[in-house]
């Protein structure tokens, strides 16, 4: 197990390293002098030279990369071109908003999805099973940002049940502001998780330990809820871990649509102002988040199911 864990995290680190290097080289490979873009056409040559030196752009590329990694290992992602604040400060200030949105989305969609899937598996081929299947296929198809826009139109602008912009202050207000974006992000996951749980439930229900539990005369309800479901929700853990990238992507759109603070809004804003250190920092943090959550999902899976340790 320990061997698997070290290997898995080693791979994650390697992936992260390659990803960051590629990203770094891509930014440097772009035609056009970033300093000129940042300062605009009317900047004096002295000012340009000063900023070039301050950003370390006058060094050879391999040295820039070394300096970048040196700083990174010390937890320094550079400074914002405009405000002079540390990029890490800015990114970590926005991160909680994105995380709370993602967490809320997973929470409601996984709860509902598991319940639907378990119910459908316990009553296969009934009307409810069919309806759940049809709904889940349709929900899977709905892209989060379109759902977000339609939800904004119907529930915030037209019916005015929920607030349309911002993240709110205070616990209840924040919760109120979370409802629509979390609904939009989670909707496609409900169907996906329901189908997943239903399929793995049906498989688990045929296994010997469930049969044994039944033979002991344990109530059907308890067999389903305790003996079968506990194993059947394993794939959900992996799917959520691997789906972190999709969740992040959906969160970016939801933040724009509902004008919420967060990583997504930060990235879009810094792209429009060509604030590369911030773009780089946020992409790096979100990539790290994704890589770590995928590795964690693999680990949890390996912990719960020893067979997963050997496969690639």
């Amino acid at each position: 197990m320990l061997k698997f864990a070290t290997r898995r995290f080693g791979l994650s680190l390697l992936i992260l390293f390659v990803a960051v290097t590629v990203m770094f080289l891509m930014i440097r490979a772009v035609p056009g002098d970033p300093v000129q873009i940042m300062l605009g056409p009317r900047a004096t040559p002295e000012l340009q030279a000063q900023l070039t030196a301050a950003l370390g752009l006058d060094q050879p590329i391999w040295k820039q990369l070394l300096i970048f990694y040196g700083n990174l290992l010390q937890g320094d992602l550079g400074t914002d071109v405009f405000s002079g604040r540390a990029v890490t400060d800015i990114v970590f200030q926005q991160l909680p908003y994105t995380l709370e949105l993602i967490f809320a989305s997973i929470l409601w969609s996984a709860t509902l999805g598991i319940a639907l899937g378990a119910y459908a598996a316990a009553h296969p081929n009934t009307l409810i099973d069919r309806i759940a299947a049809a709904i889940s296929v349709s929900f899977v198809a709905a892209p989060a940002f379109v759902v977000a826009l339609l939800a904004l139109l119907v529930f915030a602008v037209h019916l005015q049940w929920f607030p349309a912009i911002g993240a709110g202050d205070g616990f209840l207000d924040r919760l109120d502001h979370l409802v629509l974006p979390a609904f939009a992000i989670g909707l496609s996951w409900v169907g996906y998780i329901a189908r997943l749980v239903r399929a793995s439930m049906l498989e688990v229900m045929g296994e010997s330990h469930v049969r044994t539990a039944r033979a002991f005369g344990i109530a059907e309800r308890r067999v389903v809820m305790v003996y079968a479901l506990r194993i059947a929700i394993l794939p959900v853990v992996t799917v959520i871990g691997v789906g972190m990238g999709f969740l992040l992507s959906s969160a970016v759109f939801a933040e724009i649509v509902f004008a919420r603070p967060g990583l997504g809004k930060l990235v879009i804003d810094s792209i429009t102002t060509r604030n590369y250190p911030i773009v780089m920092g946020s992409v790096l943090i979100s990539t790290a988040l994704f890589v770590v959550s995928t590795a964690l999902a693999d680990l949890i899976n390996a912990l719960l199911d020893p067979r997963a340790r050997t496969s690639h």
């Binding site: 891509m26 296929v137 892209p143 940002f145 759109f253 879009i268 990539t287």
Partner: protein, 285 residues
Amino acid sequence: MEKSRSELGQIIVGVARDPLGLMGLIIVGVIVFCAIFAYWIVPYDPIAMDIKSRMQGPSTAHLLGTDQLGRDTFSRVIAGGQVALKVALPAVFGAMAIGLTLGMIAGYGPKWLDNLLMLFFDTIRSFPTVMFALAVVALIGPSLQTVVFVVMATSIPTYGRVARTQTLTLRNSEFILAERSMGASMARILGVHMLPNIIGVLAVLAAMDIPTVIALEAGLSFLGLGVKPPTPSWGALLKDGYSLIRQTPWLVVGGGLPIILATLGFTFLGESLRDVVDPKLRKQR
């Protein structure tokens, strides 16, 4: 040739027998038809401005109303479908071709090459799609080509991994070993003998991938980072509708519903195709 045609016919019949598959076939058919004949269907020029009739609600003259520049929404929805397919098809086919080639090489070639390619796939996959897209657009600037490139780059690993797994399971089967013992080159083995056995699974994957691509194009255009402004795109419609959501809500509906319909259609079609082409796949995912 005759045989493959009848196989294709069987697949289409199989899909059409399944109610969801038939629905998908119809929706996709309508979208493709509208995209091809958009020029003859649209009642107005989709990029012609008519300031006098701006921000009008749905009426008989303008079925889905007009936007802030007086452009006819219905015409823009139809023409937007053309743009969506123009991005989705080359991107999906390009990604499939590259992913297929790299995946087969990874599965059949030496171990170090396999490891290298897998690292490459895992690295691309480790960027959250939209973050990667945003970074690339920020660097090379928004355009139709950029969107196609981003979409292609992000979906190569999916095809690559599937092609690799399929190749790995087939590489030691008798017909491949026989071919190898007769001295066939790697290109011949992969192209002539491996490819026909893998392509079906990848085609299903491609059908299921089109909705994701359409959504990504619309998403980027919605953020103002996709196709450039006068070009009609479902995402651009959403963008205009969003910024004036109180004045022209019909733009949000006009841009949003086709995206949902298109995703539904291609998903139904893909699922049904999968069941017909390879029932074993049903259990996976």
